[in-house]
Each structure stands twice: as structure tokens, then as C-alpha cells.
């Protein structure tokens, strides 16, 4: 087989891991900026937001996540290690039966995904999950 470097990288997603690792500090501040933009600089508390995500992504290009925050008017998702951290913002009107959203996101490498919820009283809550994107291949 002609298993060239490019193919290995693309299929193994290892190249992405390297990139993300090297550049994480820069992205982290981009994420902080994006969160501050969403919250208007308000303090963000913990609790009240449930973020469900795989520990290890089966495919970094399409990672299923779910977020739930009862009483939220909006939930924003940030991928800390992506070149553009903001992923999506879900808004919930007063008639929404539940404040829940499920989607699939693309991750450039192993990183934290952060969900920030804006609550009815104007406060902000967050939850995060570390999702690993790995080369795989050696299970027992």
C-alpha cells in the first residue's frame, strides 16, 4: 500500500492533534474572548448545565454532543482547541418545552468543549468536557 504521510495524517487525525497541542495557549485566549463576548464580561458560575459528550471521539470530524440547561434563554458552545472556538448558540423562547440541544461538531484535536448558558435572571452558568481525538488502533 502507498500509505503516504498525508494519508496517515488525514486518516489518523494525528496531525490535528499536533497542531492543537502546539497552538493551545493562543486558542485558549480566543475562547476566553468569545465567552466574554457572549456574557458581556459577567461572571460565569458552575452547575445547572449538563454537557454530554464522548470521552474519546470516534470521529473528530463529527462528534455528537448534547447540552441541557433548565431555565436557560440561550446556550452557547465553544470548542477551546479549534481555530474558531465559537461553535453554535441555541436560543430558547418562553414557550420552549425544554432547554435542550443536540448537535455534532468538528474538533481539530483533543480539547475542552465548553457550554455557557444564559439563565432567565441574566446570570451565566457553564459546564465543560474534555474530548480526546486520537489515532487509535491498539485495543486489546
Amino acid at each position: 500500500m502507498e500509505l503516504n504521510r498525508r494519508k496517515m495524517l488525514v486518516l489518523g487525525t494525528a496531525g490535528a492533534a499536533v497542531t492543537a497541542f502546539g497552538a493551545l495557549p493562543a486558542f485558549a485566549s480566543a475562547t476566553e474572548d468569545a465567552i466574554a463576548k457572549f456574557t458581556g464580561g459577567a461572571d460565569v458560575g458552575e452547575g445547572g448545565v449538563e454537557l454530554t459528550a464522548p470521552e474519546i471521539a470516534e470521529n473528530g470530524n463529527t462528534v455528537p454532543i448534547e447540552v441541557s440547561a433548565p431555565g436557560a434563554v440561550a446556550i452557547a458552545i465553544f470548542a477551546d482547541g479549534n481555530p474558531t472556538p465559537p461553535v453554535a448558540t441555541f436560543k430558547f423562547g418562553p414557550l420552549a418545552a425544554s432547554q435542550f440541544a443536540a448537535t455534532r461538531i468538528r474538533l481539530a484535536g483533543t480539547q475542552d468543549v465548553i457550554a455557557v448558558a444564559e439563565m432567565e435572571d441574566g446570570s451565566f452558568k457553564q459546564a465543560s468536557a474534555n474530548i480526546k481525538v486520537t489515532i487509535g488502533g491498539c485495543g486489546g
Partner: protein
């Protein structure tokens, strides 16, 4: 008011009083060097429910030798905890005498001489005898297969798992879960699962497109035994599409999914289950963590990491049972289930000493029938070994050293990579190496031995990535294999360092030069998870190498230096 938690602790305490484990009953036989089937099977039937657990058989129908690891490092909270205790330390922990049958069955050290003394282990005809004996005590005992059953031999490969299905069906299991089975490809898995006369379980086997449960793999099944209801929930290997080629079963998604596990536990409790058993292929440390997160599980029958423990480990309020691999052990767990809860247990890990346990004649005939069409190919002698050939260990084993040497010489490469799988029996010095023996350590549906070029930088990425799959301090991020084996490449690994910083001193062994990140190296390997990998099958590469050698002599391997333990 007394909570359920309090009740359980009372229950556990009571169980300790009635004798929790069968271990020790046969360990003392060392002095007389005699062991009988009755002694191995001795068990005072207890309570009202019996579970029988087999797991990770890897298609080993016949008795084999199997050396347990001498290097099995635990990290994070599992540092120094079982199953990460080996050799003499393991024997001291459990009070096992050196040279005893339990030394041979459960721990490494002095393997070759003990193997000559105590003989082979396993064989599904012996396993059948043990299961029949337990059923004679308790006719409605529940037999559970933890998976990795339809993979790992010449006949299993050539029959696409049919040999194992035929033999296991004769043992009449009540339920099963899965891992390597999926590497037969989803069409074949569907075909075989639809043919099974028992439940194929997996609460974490989901449809990949819709991320919903599947019809083929229900989450649980309910049993009524001894006047009580027992729910058995399946947990397949969570990281199948990552550790194995996901393109072979693209319809399925997995993951640990402990929130769904909690929902299922709550559901079966509400349906009247007084006892909840999880038949798991998570791996031991993952099971231990899951038991602290998901409440309401009484027993986890743990598979995947191939650990054999003579006593249950209690995590939170849950018993975790580790039943070894390759047909070497059968676990029996008797439970006293009363008034909606587990009041006590008795457990025994039964080692299958093949020269002690009488084979079941019908099962022997059935096994031989599966093998008959292939007998000539299986038994052909390819070479001899004058060294112990084994696989288990975090960093290397003499079988993998031989496989890496085969890749280097047969594929004319500078560096060889061999996957850190944990299956594959051992051979003792003086044995012939047959074709069957080679297939037992290499057989898989993606065995093509590739030859490619990798930069030094990329090789480091590979090593770092695999190292994190083993040594991430959070078990939920571990995949349950061992470190990728390297030939022609030495390195230092700090197992306690964070991801990306564990590997250093990478050295090209033939020149002694440090690995240059920018240089391209010729690398041969096998078991790539990438679709379209081309090359000769690894078993042909190894066979050709052994034919050339004639007699295999293993050299000491000190190419990996381990720190941070």
C-alpha cells in the same frame, strides 16, 4: 430510615462472614503438588442465584499455555492497585505460595518450569465440564460471555467466527456482549447475532447515524431465578471504532455512555429487578470508575483487559469480577438475593488446568469437528523455539519482538510497529512452532503488513498517542491495550507525564543515532485501522521469518526505558 446504601453495606458485611471467596481452597495444595478436579470445582452452593462468567476467549478452543504479565503499570488512582500488581508482589498480596498452582495460573515468574509441571490451561471441552458441574449444583445458573469470543485463531478466521458460535452455542450461554466480533464486519456480525439462541446485549451499542439504540443489540435482559428477578445489562467495548477499524462497522457508534447506563439501571430496578449485573467489556479500571458513577449495579463481570483476580474488587457498592482470558478461567459467583437487594455473595475463580479437569467428550468431538477441515494446515510445523514466547506486558513481549524482527527483515524496514494487543497464548522452550501457533498471535481481519515512510516527528506522535491510551490517569480515556511494540526503535517513557511529554530519547537502534524529527524512516507494521492498507498478511510474514530462522531464540529486550512509576 435506613437507605439502600446502608442495607448494601450490611449485606456486604454479612457476606464476608459467610466466606466471600473460594480462593485459598486450592492454593494450599502446593505442598503436596497434587490437584484434583474435585478440588478445583469444590464450592459450597450459596444463596439463590449463580452466575458463570467466561470472557475474552479469543477463539482458543484447545488448551494452551498463557503467561500472565510481569509489567502492568497502573496510573492515577490505580497506581499500585490490582490488577496493576504482578509477579511476586501479586502473590504476596493474595497470600499465594511460590511454586503453587495459583502462582502458575495467576502470576508471572518462573513460568517455564511451572508450565512444564502443571501443563496447559484452558480448552473449551474442559470449560464445558466446569459449567456442567456448576449446573449440576444449580441447574438454572446464568452463563454470561463477555465477548472477544469470535476472534483469534486460524479456524475462527477461516470460518468467520462460525467455529466459535457452534461451540459456544453448545455451552448454552444466556447472554453475550462484544468487541473483536465487530471486526468480522457488520454484515457478518448481523448474520451471526441473528442466529444466536441467546441475548446479544449492549446498552452502549448505538446506531451511528441517529445516535439511537439498535434493535439487534438490546440493552438488557431479565432473568427469573431462585424466586427473584435479575437484570443483566450488556456493555460492549466502548472504543471499538477507535481501537479497531471503524470502517468495518460504520453503522455503529459506541462510547461508555454512563448516563444511559444509569437510565437502564433505573429502568430495570423499576421493572422489579432485585439484582443488577453488568456484563462488561469496558476493561477493569473503566469498570471500577463506572461503578462509582452509576449507582445500583450489584455485580460487574469485567472483561477486555484480560485480568484474572482471585477475589472480587469492591468499588463503591459494586462487586467487580475479573475472569482472565483465552479460556484459562471460569468465574462462579453465587448471590443471595432477598428483599430487593444483594445480601451476600460467594465467589471462585476456577483455573482450567487442562490436565486436571476431564474434558467433556461431546464438546471435544464438537471442537474437533470444527478443526477437522483445517487440521493439516493447523498442525504444520514451521520451526522451533528454544525460548519462552509470550505477549503480555505493557511494553514488549518475546512474541512481539519476534514479530517486529520478522517485519524488519522480511519487509526490509528500519523500524517496525506491532499493535499492543493482549491476546495470544505463549509457547515454552523446546516447543514446535506450528502454523496454528503463529495465527493464535496474529489472526485478524486487517492483518496486512504495510511498509511506509514516517518522519521522526510523526513516530513520536504515534508513540505519544498510544501512550496516552494506556497511561492517561483517567480510566475513561484509556482503551485497554498495551503500548505499541517497536522494533529497531528505542525510547524512554515517563508514564506519569502528561500527554505529549511522555516519550523521549527516541533512538534508531541499528545506528545508535537519535531519531531526527525531520528525517523519513522506513517503517513496517500491521493491524492498521485505516481502510485500504496493503501488504502481505502478517502471519505469512512471520511464517516466512521463522522458516528462515529454523529455531527461534529470543534476545533480552531493553530498548524501552520506563520512568515515573
Amino acid at each position: 430510615m435506613i437507605s439502600r446504601r446502608d442495607f448494601l453495606q450490611v449485606g456486604m458485611a454479612a457476606s464476608a462472614l459467610v466466606g466471600a471467596s473460594g480462593f485459598g481452597n486450592w492454593a494450599r495444595l502446593a505442598a503436596q503438588q497434587s490437584l484434583t478436579q474435585d478440588q478445583l470445582l469444590q464450592f459450597d452452593t450459596f444463596g439463590n442465584v449463580s452466575l458463570i462468567h467466561v470472557t475474552d476467549i479469543h477463539a482458543q478452543l484447545k488448551p494452551i499455555y498463557f503467561r500472565e504479565p510481569s509489567v502492568n503499570i497502573g496510573v492515577g488512582e490505580n497506581k499500585g492497585e490490582v490488577p496493576h500488581v504482578t509477579g511476586a508482589d501479586f502473590r504476596r498480596l493474595y497470600g499465594i505460595e511460590d511454586g503453587s498452582p495459583s502462582h502458575y495460573a495467576l502470576s508471572s515468574g518462573d513460568f517455564t518450569s511451572l508450565a512444564r509441571e502443571y501443563g496447559r490451561v484452558g480448552g473449551l471441552d474442559r470449560v464445558a465440564t466446569v459449567i456442567n458441574a456448576i449446573r449440576a449444583d444449580r441447574p438454572d445458573a446464568i452463563l454470561l460471555d463477555g465477548g472477544d469470543t469470535w476472534h483469534g485463531s486460524y479456524t475462527c478466521y477461516h470460518t468467520q467466527g462460525q467455529d466459535m458460535v457452534n461451540v459456544m452455542n453448545a455451552l448454552k450461554p444466556d447472554a453475550m456482549t462484544f468487541h473483536w466480533e465487530f471486526t468480522l464486519g457488520s454484515d457478518r456480525v448481523t448474520e451471526l447475532v441473528e442466529s444466536l439462541p441467546f441475548a446479544a446485549l449492549g446498552q452502549n451499542i448505538f446506531d451511528a447515524e441517529w445516535d439511537e439504540p439498535t434493535d439487534l443489540f438490546p440493552p438488557y435482559t431479565m432473568f427469573e431465578r431462585g424466586g427473584t428477578k435479575i437484570a443483566v445489562i450488556g456493555q460492549a467495548f466502548p472504543y471499538m471504532p477507535i481501537a479497531n477499524p471503524g470502517w468495518m462497522f460504520p453503522e455503529y457508534a459506541f462510547g461508555i455512555r454512563d448516563e444511559n447506563m444509569q437510565e437502564i439501571v433505573d429502568q430495570v430496578r423499576s421493572e422489579g429487578a432485585e439484582c443488577v449485573v453488568v456484563l462488561s467489556h469496558n476493561g477493569f479500571d473503566v469498570d471500577k470508575k463506572m461503578a462509582t458513577i452509576v449507582s445500583g449495579i450489584d455485580v460487574i463481570l469485567s472483561g477486555h483487559t484480560h485480568d484474572a483476580l482471585p477475589e472480587p474488587v469492591v468499588s463503591g457498592e459494586t462487586l467487580i469480577i475479573a475472569s482472565g482470558s483465552n479460556g484459562k478461567f471460569v468465574s462462579r459467583v453465587d448471590l443471595d438475593i432477598r428483599d430487593g437487594r444483594m445480601m451476600g455473595y460467594r465467589h471462585k475463580l476456577i483455573p482450567i488446568f487442562s490436565d486436571v479437569i476431564e474434558p467433556d467428550a461431546e464438546m471435544t468431538a464438537l471442537i474437533d469437528e470444527q478443526r477437522a477441515p483445517y487440521e493439516n494446515e493447523l498442525s504444520e510445523v514451521i520451526g522451533q523455539t528454544e525460548s519462552l514466547l509470550y505477549r503480555r506486558g505493557n511494553f514488549n513481549g518475546s512474541w512481539d519482538d519476534l514479530i517486529c524482527d520478522a517485519l524488519l527483515s522480511e519487509r526490509d524496514a528500519e523500524i517496525a510497529l506491532s499493535p499492543g494487543v493482549r491476546w495470544g497464548p505463549s509457547l515454552i522452550p523446546g516447543q514446535d512452532i506450528t502454523r496454528e501457533d503463529i495465527w493464535n498471535v496474529t489472526s485478524m481481519t486487517y492483518g496486512e503488513a504495510y511498509r511506509t515512510e514516517m518522519t521522526g516527528e510523526f513516530l513520536k506522535v504515534v508513540l505519544e498517542d498510544v501512550a496516552d491510551n494506556i497511561f492517561n490517569p483517567d480510566p475513561y480515556y484509556q482503551q485497554g491495550g498495551d503500548m505499541v511494540r517497536t522494533g529497531g526503535l528505542g525510547y524512554t517513557i515517563d508514564v506519569s507525564a502528561p500527554q505529549g511529554e511522555r516519550i523521549s530519547n527516541m533512538t534508531l537502534l541499528k545506528s545508535g543515532e537519535p531519531i531526527d524529527p525531520a528525517h523519513n524512516y522506513v517503517v513496517a507494521g500491521w493491524a492498521s485501522v485505516n481502510e485500504g492498507t496493503e501488504g502481505p498478511q502478517i502471519w505469512d510474514v512471520v511464517e516466512s521469518h521463522i522458516r528462515t530462522l529454523g529455531t527461534v531464540t529470543a534476545q533480552p529486550n531493553d530498548s524501552v526505558e520506563v520512568t515515573g512509576i
